[in-house]
Every structure is written in C-alpha cells, then in structure tokens.
Point group: C2
Chain length 200, copies 2
DNA sequence: CGTTTGCGAAATGTTAACCTTTTTCTTTAA
DNA sequence: TTAAAGAAAAAGGTTAACATTTCGCAAACG
C-alpha cells in the first residue's frame, strides 16, 4: 500500500479527530484557535481550516464569532438511523466490489486487519477504532471513489463518537476477516451478511 | 418566519452554490481564489473558507496546492443510492414530526411552497430548486436538528447537480402541498407516501 | 527528434497584524 | 443591595504580505 503524503492541515485534523474519538476532548469542550496554533506550531490560518473541516464532518459545532466546541454524541434515534444509512452504503459497496478485487487490494485489507489485531492485543483502543474506520473506508472508496466517501464519512465519524471503547470484543477482528474472506471468494451475499453483522 | 442573519462567508457560499446548481459554473470549471476575492470584494481568507465548505459538501473537488474545481455530477448508480438514503432520512423526519407540528411551522412551510409556485410561474428554475431544497431542509432540521441536517445536506446538494431544470413540471408544487397537508392532518403514513413520491 | 532539466509566472499555503464582536468584570446609580 | 452601563480583555474575522508549490515552456542534452 503506497504511503500517503498528508498536508499539514490533514495531519492536524487527524490528531484532533483522534482526541475526540478517544474522549480526550469531551463533548462541549471549547476549542481555542490560539491554543491549537501554539500546540501544533502553526499560525491560526491552518487551524481555522481544520476547524471548518471537522465542523462539516459533524465532530465540532461552530457558532459565528463565538467559536467551535466538541459536538455531543448522536441521540439514540439518530444513531439508529445512521446505522441504517451506513449499512445501505456499505452493502452497495460490497455489491460493486465482490468478484472485482485484485490480490493486492485483498492484501491491503488483510494488512489493515492485522493492524487491528495488534492494537487490540495491546489494548490501544483509539488506534483500534481508527483501523476499523480505515478498513471500511478502504473498500467504500474503492467502490465509489471520493464521491461515495463524501457521503459515507460524516455518517461513520459521527457514529463513532458514541461507543468509545465499549464494544471492543475479540470478535471484532474476526468479523472483519469474514468480510475479506467473502470478498476473496467473490461471494457478494456473504460479504453483505458479514458487513450487516459487523455494523451495529 | 424570522429572517436569518448570514455571515459574509455564508452569503458567498450561497451565491457560489447557486452558480453551480444553475449550471453557470459547469463541472470541471476551476475556481480561482483571487478572482473570487475580487468578485465579492473580500480578501482570500473568507474565500478559502467557502471553498473548504463547498468541498466538504461535495460540490467542489480540491487538490493540495492546485486548487478547487466544480465536481462532476454523481454517476447514475450513486445517484440511485443517494435517492435511497435521502428517502430514509426524510421518512424518519416525517415519522418524528407528524402530529407534532405547530400552526406556525405549517404556515412557514406553506410560505415556502407559495414561494416555489411564484418562481415556477416566472420560470426562475434556479430559485425554484433552491426553494425546493429549503422546504425539505425546513422539516429535516425540525425533526433532527443540525445533526440530521449535517447528514442530509451533502446527499441532497450533490443530487441536485444532476437534474438542472429537467424535471420542473407543474406537479412539483402540488407534490409539496400534499406533504404539508399530510403533516397538517397528522397522518404520518400519508406524509411518508407523499415524500416518497416527491423524491426521485 | 524526443526526453529531460531548469527557469519563471501564477496559484495556493502560511503568517502576523489589525478589526470587530462577544464576554466578563467593574463601576455607578437607582 | 441590585442591576444596568460601560470599559477592558479575550476570541474570532479579515486582511495583505510573504513562502512554497505547481505547471508550462523553452533550452539543452542525449
């Protein structure tokens, strides 16, 4: 898998996303542009870009002339709706991909799952969550490109604010192996079933 | 309905969105920050904010160090998926709202439809499309607040790039009246049916 | 003749200073 | 004593200058 070069802004965005997913930045925490600028040793410009991005993703809430703060988790009805939406998207992706994946792509997914396993064993739950997201992101992007990713991402990232380190059973890794194995065998139905089982 | 005060950035974003929906800015058109700054008589800062926002909405595509250009319409498979997702969200909203709307809220929706009718008669199709979006946005926001809006908006705005002024039959206005009437009678099933009929 | 290298223009990325709004604390008057 | 008014501080909004990157084009080389 080719290493991606990330812009300064994207790297900062990733770090703040991690802080929110890990719970280090709790809901309603106010983000101060100047503090963040000092923390990452850049000026306020790039920080503002990052805040705008995360706001559009739903992780932050911004108010004019007041600033941004960490958003509250989704209420449970919307959480349920989000699960439905996410299933629809990933099922679509599975239908497109089953039988059309290269060996290299399958290997990439295996590698991500190996990574998940490692983080699970070390009890690094934030990293585990990120690997989980990366796995799904990988095949959603393959199936529908940036367009589909743009629809999928805000749904998933917001969902993930809810179960911080709760449902981290050892089954999680296996569920992902099931998905890849179904892909490997070109079995769209099995892939969809495995995905349905994994998303909850 | 109370008039909303919009920030400079939001007003500029609305204008560029209009240009894209109307087709004035065709897909693949490159957006130049300096030109836009001059056009709206602001500096490049706010323009960059707007470009970031519209990129997150899926209307633009940005590349590091290269700039932003108008995105291509969704391929038809993704268009179909988007319709499904949008239906799911708006059906959820209808279920939440039916029977719980105030007279004032119903009047607001009537007003938006009157507005649609006017634009239809004057053949102002871009404005008609915007009013159409505003109508759905109104009740989606009522049902799920900003959180739901954040999930809904990118789906709809991207869909709207596809049928520019194509399906502007006179039925469109009536379909919306049907939705409000179902709301008025607190009939969730009828509201959902009307919404299903309208979204295509 | 085709490919590569490097220059230069144009566009984006970043910064720091300045402006405006919001908030908070203090003063003052009822 | 309380509450309104206003000043001061803090934070976000905007700007313009500066830095870096990209890309086309032309010269040089194979």
């Amino acid at each position: 898998m080719k290493p991606k070069i990330l812009s300064v802004r994207d790297q900062i965005a990733d770090l703040i996303r991690s802080d929110i997913i890990s719970g280090e930045l709790a809901p309603n925490t106010k983000l101060n542009e100047i503090q963040l600028a000092e923390r990452f040793d850049v000026s306020r410009g790039p920080i503002r870009d990052v805040i705008l991005k995360l706001t559009k993703e739903g992780l932050l809430v911004s108010k004019n002339n007041v600033g941004a703060s960490v958003n509250a988790p989704l209420p449970s009805e919307l959480q349920k709706l989000s699960i439905d939406l996410r299933k629809k998207i990933e099922e679509y992706a599975a239908k497109q991909l089953a039988g059309h994946l290269t060996l290299e792509q399958l290997a990439d997914m295996d590698a991500i799952i190996d990574n998940m396993q490692e983080h699970f064993e070390r009890e690094e739950y934030t990293e585990l969550t990120k690997a989980d997201i990366a796995f799904h992101e990988y095949f959603v992007e393959l199936a529908g490109g940036e367009s589909l990713l743009n629809l999928w991402y805000p749904i998933v990232i917001r969902m993930r604010m809810n179960y911080q380190r709760i449902k981290t059973s050892s089954k999680l890794v296996d569920e992902h192996r099931d998905i890849v194995n179904a892909f490997r065998e070109g079995d769209a139905k099995a892939a969809i079933a495995a995905i349905r089982k994994n998303i909850k």
